[in-house]
Amino acid sequence: MAAARARGPHGEGPALEDIRGWRVLLHPVRELQLVRLAAFVRPYRAQAAASLVAMVVVTLTALAVPYLVKIAIDSGIAVGDMRVVELVIVAFLALAGLNLGASYLQTYLVNWVGERVILDLRRALFAHIQKLSLDFFSQQKTGWIVSRLTNDIDSLDQLVTDGVTTLVTSSLTLVGAVVLLFVLDWRLALATMIILPPVIVATVVFRSKSARSYAKVRDKIAGVSAHLQESIAGVRVVQAFRREQADFDRFAEANAAYQRANWETVVQSGFYFPYVEFMSAVGVVIVLWYGGVLQSHGALEIGVLVAFVGYLASFFDPIQQLSQLYNTFQASMAAVRKVYTVLDTEPDMTDAPHAHPLPEARGEVRFEHVDFAYGRGRDATPLVVPGERSGGAARGGEQRGGDGRAAEGPAGAARAVEQQATQQRDALPREAERAASDVLHDVDFAIAPGETLALVGPTGAGKSTIVKLLARFYDPRAGRVLIDGHDLRDVTTRSLREQLAVVPQEAFLFSGSVLENVRFPRPDASLEEVRRVARIVGAHDFIEALPDGYETDVQERGGGLSTGQRQLISFARALLADPRILILDEATSSVDAESERRIEHAMDVLFSGRTSVIVAHRLSTVRHADQILVVDDGRIIERGTHDDLMALRGRYWELYREWEETGLPL
């Protein structure tokens, strides 16, 4: 069959062997996501339209080649007219030149639009993720979220560039070839169409089977990768408990399952593609036989026959290419669906429409009868992605801070589904049910401007939750949180957070220098200011001692920063922000004693002139607070100064005694 193969510039190739399909033709619109994706193309519709025109030109010029050859043979060579041949050659070169130019435009424009869409989509996704509440971040693994922003969007790359081009040019070539076959000789064309039904049947069967197999391949490879990740993270345990062989067997099984799924696809394409090729040889034979018969009666010119054989190739190649495109399309759609699960997660902590900026705060904080429950604050739906398998390292559940959720656990997706189901099934009075799951009950207190409040209580009591409400990471279910009399729900989040800083338990440093990290809240701060705050928190000396001082990269050469040092940088950062309200959320619990002493020393400076809230395990840090709240099971059970509470001989006194005891050698 291998006669004149008029290939487009994309050719066929083993590279594309694995990545094309054809159902695309039949169901593009049915995939809702594709329609939504189209919205991202709209801003570039001019370029997209131009690229479409270029594609049409490319296809038409490529299709014209066998026809020109036919003219050359029949009207030129056969009748001995060299002028026609020369004209054909000129036309041929002109068309080839046109094809060259149009191909350049097509490739460039399609890629430009595609990459642009990817850029916009990535940006939109990132901006959306930024708006999501902390719930989202605690329910989803880092790796899961990151791969939405990277892997999934990158896998669209293939679709928006190669995929679209193949789809358009292959379909056009297919249609064009059929039209030309009929134009050349309708009898011969009809005869050739005999082979179409077996090809269509085979394609339909192949398409549906291979779609299933590729889905299986994706699923199995995710299994292999998940196993790998988990075992690498837990390799110490595997070794310590001598589970190498058993673990290896499990891995080999997952790996084998992946190979089996892959083998299915090998077998499918192993039969399908040679079959289509064979059918095209059958087509050639039909053309030669029937064409020969026609020609013997003088009813057909030889040139037509040659051109016919040429167009047969243009007819079969697109069918193969479209069949393969279907797999790319499916993989991309799986990725798009995952991207949209994130884009469809409603940010539940948006600013109210009437929100106004919080004016320069004096720093008076008031909690008025606050009740709070996680995950249901505003009937927020926990993000659930069924069938998701490729998550990040499966650590045996991470401890999430020291707040109430640690004990109960912001359970995984499966559990969230369960909860939802229960919620819907049970016709319990909603209010009662809610109250039962509340993390905070009727929390009511006030802090005068400039005062220091300490929150004390066992793990899971709700201390960190109170802090999160104050920073408006969540809204209360009932009651109000006020700063200077402004309900936090009525002010813009941005203006609130510009006046408030939290130093969390784990100091998080961004890649970049120490300087950049301290400067994070105020990128325009001068080096002098940075040095000043670093001196105040006692970080200056060790920073200076780093290989490149303030310019030391925290991940590379400064990778050895200790927890304490990181925390000091985090303190400096908070101080540079110069907030009206400062919150230390167990900020010193992961710091060693030496650093803690230094920080305590700095606290006087940190706290002076600001409203401060401290959450602490170690009671030594809370003794000097103006007010201490003892929180247990989401309620404030005692309040007062250290001396008041000691005199009360209540829970605080007990905690203090217990702590004193465990703090001393027996």
Binding site: I89, A127, V224, F278, G391, G409, A593
Partner: protein, 643 residues
């Protein structure tokens, strides 16, 4: 090139399949080459000469060739598929087994993501090349040569004219591949940059929110994404220029062929059928010439990937069992350290194993570069001569500031690392002289941050002894103070925990880890900071569990809390890799050394003792005075490379 041969060496296991694949591919090619000959015969002999009776046999011949090609193609695809999937499977298994055997230090050095990408995409690249690339490459080269020869046989002058474009095409195609390669690598690099920003914004989302820096971060992310866009467009430009050009060049040859061929046919020196056959063959040349560039790219990628795979496979297994290693059977649990020295970054395998320098370098813990930045010598002595004898059944607490070598010392017992000097003996057996399997069977470990697998609670508990009965599991959990909360879980012991399951608190995980150690019933128990991250109430419960667990076993306790240290009969104080004090709590308090200063300071200030990072003796002002941060003290905090 060496890697190229090493990669192809994988094919050695599939000699038959390789032979079949190449044989069928070449056969396929040869058959394809005959079709234009038949077409020529049809036109020349049947149609032009009017021998229409030839149509049937010629048609049948084409069908026959087509059918033969069908069979060969199916066989070829199945053979290459079987072979390449087999190679991928074996290679991945080999790599995984290799990783499982690596000592702990290995994983300090490698990031999980790095290992993952090698085990997944790099192996796939190798497979793609071996399965498709190599066969296609060979076949294409053969096609080029065979077609060129055929053209010369058909008509040498016409062949010379029309093949003039071929060298040009090859040059352009290779140039394209060479230019595209670095650009594509750049795209990958830029994507990695995006990933970094994405990752830290997800992990640090709270910080970004707190300081309301969303806009800055979005800008940063956008800039990096924009860089991906720019790099991708550079790649697109290259493609837009070269791919159509590569498609265009053969057209010149077609034009030349038409011009000269037509003249010759008209002049009667060439048959029409020959011209058509010539044209068809010329077309058959274009495709192999076009994809050669792509195939070289595939090959380059496979070689690069192969190098990355071999980087892992070539790391010798540092701690294989000695050839004459015996199983460590019944032990009582006496542990003796004899002049033990240990250094990270040095020859971690011990002098007599004859380790290559490459292995030593790649086994340096990740903390090492940071230390190097502080101008420490590349070989970092962590333990400088430890002599210690812990009798069978005794409990020993290890105390000292972070980085003094406590964890490292305990890591030497189950041979997570090997000593660089001296010896560790269990009941008089050098740990290096027994099989690791039997050695580790006697040692239970509970870490500060216990790792649980995402499977059921019961599975996690019976990890060390899969044959343990349900009753044994329950009994162990009960003694570890874990039965109560486990029973309250949705599915009790069958509750799946971890990422896709139920999330446990730190204290709960700690107790499951203790139960896990209990089920194993080890003779030696190592409790590394097992209680530091929990609050006092939880610690109390865990302490109760520990007392239960320690009974009758040789136990090492690393702890910061005095209450936990108090569980031990004897305490050793480590400093700078040496034992500086040893004795009971009272004795050490009376001595007034480092221990007393650490605990005395805590007492005086009336707060929890946290030994980590306390001023060391040379600072000499641990009690009362305000210790100023010393860069040396700060640097030491990271030296505990054992975890």
């Amino acid at each position: 090139m060496r890697t190229f041969w090493r990669i192809t060496a994988f094919l050695a296991d599939y000699k038959l399949l390789v032979a079949v694949a190449f044989g069928t591919a070449l056969g396929q090619m040869a058959l394809s080459l005959t079709i234009p000959l038949f077409t020529r015969a049809v036109i020349n002999d049947a149609l032009v000469a009017g021998h229409y009776e030839l149509l049937v046999p010629l048609g049948l011949a084409i069908l026959g060739v087509g059918a033969a090609r069908l069979v060969l193609a199916v066989v070829r695809r199945l053979a290459t598929g079987r072979m390449s999937l087999g190679i991928e499977y074996t290679l991945r298994n080999r790599m995984y087994w290799h990783l499982l055997q690596q000592p702990a230090g290995y994983f300090d050095h490698w990031q999980t993501g790095q290992l993952m990408s090698r085990a997944m995409s790099d192996i796939q690249n190798v497979r793609m090349f071996l399965g498709y690339g190599l066969v296609f490459f060979t076949v294409n080269v053969f096609t080029l040569v065979a077609v060129a020869v055929l053209l010369f046989i058909l008509n040498w002058s016409l062949a010379l004219l029309s093949l003039a474009f071929l060298p040009l095409l090859l040059i352009v195609a290779l140039r394209f591949s060479r230019k595209l390669h670095p650009v594509l690598r750049d795209v990958q690099q830029k994507i990695a940059d995006v990933t970094t920003v994405a990752e830290e914004n997800v992990t640090g989302s709270r910080i970004v929110k707190i300081f309301a820096r969303e806009d800055d971060e979005l800008e940063k992310f956008s800039a990096r994404s924009r860089a991906v866009f720019d790099a991708s467009i550079s790649a697109a430009r290259l493609r837009a220029f070269y791919v159509p050009l590569i498609g265009f060049l053969p057209n010149i040859a077609v034009a030349v062929l038409l011009f000269w061929g037509a003249r010759e046919v008209i002049a009667g020196t060439l048959s029409l059928g020959s011209l058509v056959a010539f044209y068809t063959y010329l077309m058959m040349l274009i495709y192999p010439a076009q994809v050669l560039g792509w195939l070289t790219g595939l090959m380059q990628r496979a070689i690069a990937s192969g190098e990355r795979v071999y980087e892992i496979l070539d790391t010798p297994l540092e701690m294989t069992d000695a050839p004459d290693a015996e199983a460590l059977t019944e032990v009582c649990g006496e542990v003796r350290f004899e002049g033990v020295r240990f250094a990270y970054g040095g020859d971690g395998s011990g002098a007599d194993d004859g380790m290559g320098a490459a292995a030593a370098a790649s086994n340096a813990p990740r903390a090492a570069p940071a230390i190097a930045g502080q101008k420490a010598p590349p070989e970092r002595q962590v333990l400088r001569g430890i002599d210690l004898d812990v009798p069978c059944g005794a409990t020993m607490a290890l105390v000292g500031h972070t980085g003094c070598g406590k964890t490292t010392l305990t890591n030497l017992i189950p041979r997570f690392y090997d000593v660089t000097g001296g010896a560790v003996l269990i009941d008089g057996h050098d740990v290096r002289a027994v099989t690791r399997e039997s050695l580790r069977g006697h040692i239970g470990i509970v870490n500060q941050d216990p790792y649980l697998f995402s499977t059921t609670v019961a599975e996690n508990i019976r990890l060390g002894r899969p044959e343990a009965s349900d009753d044994e599991v329950r009994e162990a959990a009960r003694r570890a103070q874990a039965d109560e909360f486990i029973s309250a879980l949705p599915d009790g012991y069958d509750t799946v925990i971890g990422e896709r399951g139920y999330t446990l608190s730190g204290g709960q995980r700690q107790r499951i880890a203790i139960a896990r150690a209990l089920v194993m019933n080890p003779r030696i128990l190592i409790l590394d900071d097992a209680t530091s991250s929990v609050d006092t109430a939880t610690e109390f419960r865990i302490r109760q569990a520990l007392i239960e667990v320690m009974r009758g076993r040789t136990t090492f306790i690393i702890a910061h809390r005095p209450s936990t240290i108090a569980l031990a009969g004897e305490v050793i104080v480590l400093d700078e890799g040496r034992i500086v004090e040893r004795g009971s709590h009272e004795e050490l308090m009376a001595v007034g050394g480092l221990y007393a200063r650490m605990f005395g300071a805590a007492e005086a200030e009336g707060r929890t003792l946290d030994v980590a990072g306390l001023p060391t003796d040379e600072d000499g002002r641990g009690d009362g005075g305000e210790p100023l941060p010393s860069p040396r003290g700060a640097g030491r905090e990271v030296r505990d490379g054992g975890r």
